[in-house]
């Protein structure tokens, strides 16, 4: 099972000091957080993509490319890549380039984006969100899998004899997850292609996540990619940890109370009981995280949001130290509960091995058919 972190990339003033980081500070902080993720033994760092203040990560592959150059094992991902408003040709090129540079340590999470004005800024209409996600992704898949593409669709200029360069590393496209909080069409899309499904998980009660994941698993099996239990599921998560539970609650409360997403609404205690937010001791974070699999089944990636709501970099790095400390326990406990036959999340190495095995299978069967002709 993979563990990682994802960043929204918001510039939010620290409510306890009023300090608002500059864009440069925030961008560098995200890089430092990613590097630290590798240092403490995490598997994945994902950055959001936004095209409006107060967010900084508008250019994910620039940031991930820099992080790739300063890390060795970390998988670089997105949270999410806007499949609706980005040109799928540019996504194909940018992420193949990143994949080449990062030696395959790349996957993507596709999302639609829910900021209305971003669509018209990029020449689109939010009412076409699902259609854009479906059509653009269908094209993206072909650009990564076919060397020369002729294509015509509803939204983009047609392509004739187009080759996206560079080609994916070793001819293996990056693994793709699809993210959606409440649109079953996106779970259906993920299931159809046999791609992963990642639920944000952190802002809503677990029943929503459970229903979407269940639907995705059933449809994944329907399309013949394996059993429902073999579908590839990722979850978000959110915690604030201190050695003593009371210290965590006391320190995090002003950040919670003023947070852009849920601030000035429910109490920390209510929100913690209604959503996966866990503010407490390392043991509490372990126990809560282990409980997620009880309603989504054994899953492949657990990604936490830890740098938000104006938390200073120093605090975020301390959170990563604590996460690193409980990581061996999380890994061991998840492994001991996991049903046999549960797959791992695909990586470049595993996809490459599977592709080679398939080619060998094919050549073995063609040899045997030749010999049968010879009889």
């Amino acid at each position: 099972m993979q563990f990682g972190i994802f960043s929204v990339g918001d510039v939010t003033p620290d409510p306890t000091t009023g300090h608002e980081p500059s864009e440069r500070e925030r961008i560098k902080a995200m890089v430092r957080i990613a590097q630290k993720a590798e240092e403490v033994g995490l598997d994945v760092f994902a950055t959001g993509e936004h095209h409006n203040p107060p967010f900084v990560p508008s250019s994910p592959t620039t940031m991930l490319g820099y992080i790739a150059a300063t890390t060795e094992k970390l998988i670089l991902s997105t949270s999410t890549t806007l499949i609706t408003t980005n040109d799928p040709v540019k996504i194909a090129e940018d992420y193949a380039m990143l994949q080449q540079l990062a030696d395959g340590r790349v996957d993507l999470v596709m999302g639609r984006g829910n900021t209305g004005p971003v669509y018209p800024w990029f020449g689109q209409d939010i009412r076409n969100g699902i259609d854009l996600a479906l059509e653009n992704y269908a094209l993206l898949r072909r650009l990564w899998r076919e060397d020369v593409v002729d294509w015509e669709g509803k939204f983009r200029t047609p392509l004739k004899g187009f080759t996206a360069t560079p080609r994916p590393l070793d001819g293996i496209p990056p693994f793709v997850w699809h993210g959606s909080i409440r649109s079953p069409e996106i779970a259906e899309q993920a299931a159809y292609y046999g791609d992963g499904f990642l639920h944000n998980h952190i802002f809503w009660p677990p029943e929503h996540t459970q229903r979407m994941v269940q639907f995705y698993r059933q449809r994944f099996a329907h399309y013949g990619h394996g059993t429902p239990e073999q579908a590839i599921v990722g979850l978000g998560g959110q915690f604030f940890m201190r050695r003593k539970s009371q210290d965590a609650v006391r320190e995090f409360r002003p950040y919670f109370d003023n947070a852009p997403v849920y601030g000035h609404g429910p109490s920390l205690e209510d929100f913690s009981s209604q959503t996966p937010l866990t503010v407490g001791s390392p043991q509490e974070v372990i126990d809560r995280t282990l409980s997620f699999r009880e309603y989504v089944g054994d899953y492949q990636r657990q990604s936490f949001l830890i740098d938000h709501a104006g938390l200073p970099l120093k605090t975020v790095l301390e959170q990563l130290d604590l996460l690193g400390e409980i990581l061996p326990t999380l890994r061991a406990e998840f492994a001991s509960r996991r049903a046999p036959g549960t797959p791992d999340a695909p990586t470049h190495a595993s996809l490459l091995a599977a592709s080679k095995a398939k080619i060998e299978d094919a050549s073995v069967s063609s040899v045997s058919s030749v010999s049968s002709v010879g009889k």
């Binding site: 259906e188 929503h208 229903r211 849920y262």
Partner: protein, 206 residues
């Protein structure tokens, strides 16, 4: 026709509240004319949950059962105080957090209270359009009660309107009972009719 469920929504803020008083009068008048089970929802008790729902996007606590009751009701009686020439903010916020289609085809009796009769047309200019937008079927008689209506001289006139509105709601409910969709919520289960991928692409012209 068996027992119908009628949910009475009162957005009164004070205790006791004339809005609740009017709501109870309307509820009793409807119950007198037909076999109904009345459920009264005081929005004041849900105010925090409603605000939290606006901020987080999901219902919590008692609001969950209130939304369910309203969505599944055969008819509604919705009563708001008139604030600044319109429904109260709390009243509007409650209807803002309902799922799309929750009131579609549902018979609704609208009523309001105010300090003076000068604001009675707020029912026609603000409350009725709100429910028209929500695709509810609003009874023709909207009931407004100003302070003077609670005096003995005005009470017969108020009682007359209450009775008329109640009869109109009952008639609508009886009509709704004979048709298959009216009165029943059309909140769609988003998972109920997801098209298989190929059909979905074709249906969307992709």
């Amino acid at each position: 026709m068996g027992t119908s469920s009628v949910v009475v929504i009162s957005a009164g803020l004070s205790q006791p509240s004339s809005t609740r008083l009017l709501a109870d009068k309307l509820g009793a008048a409807v119950a007198a004319g037909t076999d109904v089970e009345l459920t009264v929802i005081e929005l004041r008790d849900l105010a925090h949950h409603i605000t939290n729902h606006l901020l987080t996007g999901f219902p919590t606590g008692e609001l969950v059962s209130a939304i369910k009751a309203v969505t599944e009701a055969d008819a509604l009686i919705a009563v708001t105080p008139i604030f600044s020439a319109s429904y109260s903010g709390l009243f509007k916020s409650f209807f803002d957090v309902l799922e799309l289609g929750a009131l579609e085809g549902k018979p609704v009796l609208i009523a309001a209270t105010g300090g003076s009769s000068r604001h009675s047309l707020a029912l026609e200019h603000a409350v009725r359009p709100l429910f028209s937008y929500l695709k509810a079927v609003v009874v023709p008689t909207a009931v407004y009660a100003a302070s003077e209506d609670w005096a003995s001289a005005g009470s017969t006139e108020l009682s007359g309107r209450v009775g008329r509105a109640a009869r109109q709601l009952t008639a609508l409910m009886a009509g709704a009972g004979s048709s298959s969709t009216a009165g029943k919520s059309v909140v769609k289960d988003p998972f109920a009719d997801v098209l298989p991928f190929g059909e979905m692409m074709r249906a969307r012209g992709l």
